[in-house]
Symmetry: C2
Subunit: 357 residues, 2 copies
DNA sequence: CTGAAAGCGCTTACAG
DNA sequence: CTGAAAGCGCTTACAG
């Protein structure tokens, strides 16, 4: 049915076919009020006949200087993001708001563990950027700044001049760690996600950490230290830090830690995903949570586990974070200068902590 | 530090600054072998000094006729996609393959329940499209065809001429339904996701379904009918069909069904998410799975539930579906004509089915 | 290895 | 309500 002769359909060809100007055809698609309904229908009919899908999106984006898409940059490979329920919930919130404004969503991997300096962002056709949990030295941030695109950062880093969305991580971490302290735990290990872009499972202690470029990690570790300071020295608190917040990373980290520190009575995990992995590791070692080992998490993504075990953790509003970030970015794209937002968190007391006898 | 005078940095301005041609600057970024290392470094240094981030992605995409991004179209609002673990696992597989080729990922919502005829795709700057679980009459498919972009469909629909990825849904559905039949169940209800783009929770029977534009739904329903045909007539099998595969939809659907058909002894759910929601509804009604009601699912995304209950279901390889779809699309973008792929599935026997006494 | 120039498809101020 | 024309920033065949 379609007339696939010669060059592919374009706005110009439709115009020639009908003997009108290109502008009129453009208006038929973009500004219906700029021409008569009759002429418009004749143009759309001709477009249909010539199998023309409407103005080319790339040319339109180029000409207008905006694409109608925004990018979300994740610190790691996107496969990590999809394995992290907190990130998935965040993306759901972002998508929910963008959809109401008919804005598209591009997912961009950050530069953790790679030398590809912000290639993804360098090539992405986006009007603005949401940077989710990036290291402060991630080249993608510098790339976004150079492009001059509005950028909202979530959780980290706090960029001067740009809006930020997150929670009070240090206070939250202190709160959940106090649950362990109150139950009498003194020999405690910490299972962390990345401290910097090189984190890949190293085992250190709280006083020998590398400089943190991931601020949320630093803030939570500070909160834990606040809670434990009166009872044990940082040099006695082992910390294992893997690349991201997934079950696999938690399992491997906890396994390494419990093997080298069999005397620990509790594990503090920087996320529920890490905690689930840690619980699996404990099980693999023939021990039981909370009977042999207490565990606390962070995030509130995984409140109930198997066997009726529920995690003591911090609940934070991941979807709302996404919605808020998207709203701030849309405001910035409109030329406004939106304020940063600190969202609330909440302690959830589960069954994963047992008092020391 | 940056020289933010006059117009923003562009390739041309860098060229003027150095007294070389625009092409040479372009080559410095895109074809390092086309100029001397010394000159290249001088150009990159000047770019840095002038705060130039490299060739504008939109102009580059426009000029080259390709953007380095592909789109995944989901049938519903993206917030549904992120609530559906099967879709999330699929996206993880897609992302994994795209990342190895440095291709970006744009998420596009389909047209279920809306009149916005493929607006998302019409505006998206993408080189190719993966259509995931779309209705055969989704306008986005026609839009993709008109754009002439390579398209891979996953699960549905099977487009003439384009590669397809999925499993044998009818056989799989027959297999899992037979588990109920073998346990003696005869009064069975079906909790389904969308049959067409208008599905929104209606309660019908297996012989009064609307024409299915979502083929996977049709195939699974046919498989269930195959298994039940010898024992009960389609007119006696109630079917509730909501918009998507989420816990909320399953819960609402099962609640409506059990309220109007309190005599059912088993529920067949078209996905594990629907099954989880159905189990919640059963619990809300003060009954227990599997003691009072047997339930089977589909997908293998949610093998273990709370209270030690595990779902009898079909496991299908969601991530592998994503990887395969991405590979086929990349092949199509290279000009090849990749073959369709049918992936394997597997029956998982859990504890959610009890024999009828 | 380099320069000068064309042109990708569109939108929009300018002029009527 | 419409036409003729400029130009968005880049890449690439052409010519040297």
């Amino acid at each position: 049915m379609s007339e696939r002769d010669g060059p592919p359909a374009s706005l110009k060809r439709i115009a020639q076919e009908l003997g009108v100007s290109a502008k009129t055809v453009s208006n038929a698609f973009n500004r219906p009020d700029q021409l008569s309904a009759v002429l418009r229908e004749r143009i759309l009919e001709t477009a249909r006949r010539m199998d023309y899908a409407g103005p080319d999106p790339t040319a339109r984006a180029f000409r207008r200087g905006q694409s109608g898409m925004v990018g979300v940059i994740y610190a790691n490979a996107l496969s990590y993001a999809f394995a992290n329920p907190a990130a998935v919930a965040f993306l759901a919130g972002v998508a929910e708001v963008l959809e109401t404004e008919d804005i598209g969503l591009a997912l961009i991997a950050g530069s953790a563990g790679t030398a590809r300096s912000a290639e993804g962002l360098g090539r992405a056709v986006v009007d603005g950027v949401i940077a989710y949990s990036l290291a402060s030295d991630d080249p993608a941030l510098e790339a976004a700044r150079q492009r001059g695109r509005p950028t909202v950062t979530v959780d980290q880093p706090r960029l001067a001049g740009g809006p930020w969305v997150g929670i009070d991580d240090r206070t939250a971490a202190r709160t959940v760690a106090r649950e362990l302290v109150a139950a009498g735990h003194r020999r405690v290990g910490i299972v962390s996600f990345a401290i910097d872009r090189a984190s890949n499972g190293s085992l250190v202690t709280l006083d020998t950490l590398p400089p943190a470029t991931l601020e949320v990690t630093a803030r939570r570790l500070n909160g834990y230290r606040d809670a434990l300071a009166a009872y044990t020295s940082p040099g006695n608190i082992p910390v294992v830090h893997g690349p991201d917040s997934t079950v696999m990373v938690g399992r491997a980290g906890a396994m390494a830690m419990l093997t080298s520190h069999p005397d620990l009575t509790a594990l503090i995990c920087l996320s529920d995903q890490l905690a689930i992995g840690a619980i699996e590791a404990v099980t693999d070692l023939g021990r039981t949570v909370p009977h042999d080992l207490s565990v606390v998490g962070f995030d509130g993504t995984q409140l109930a586990g198997a066997d009726g075990l529920s995690l003591t953790t911090i609940r934070q509003p991941h979807e709302d974070k996404g919605r808020t970030a998207a709203r701030l970015l849309l405001a910035a794209l409109r030329g406004e200068a939106p304020e940063s937002v600190t969202l609330p968190h909440e302690l959830i007391v589960g069954t994963s902590v047992t008092p020391i006898g």
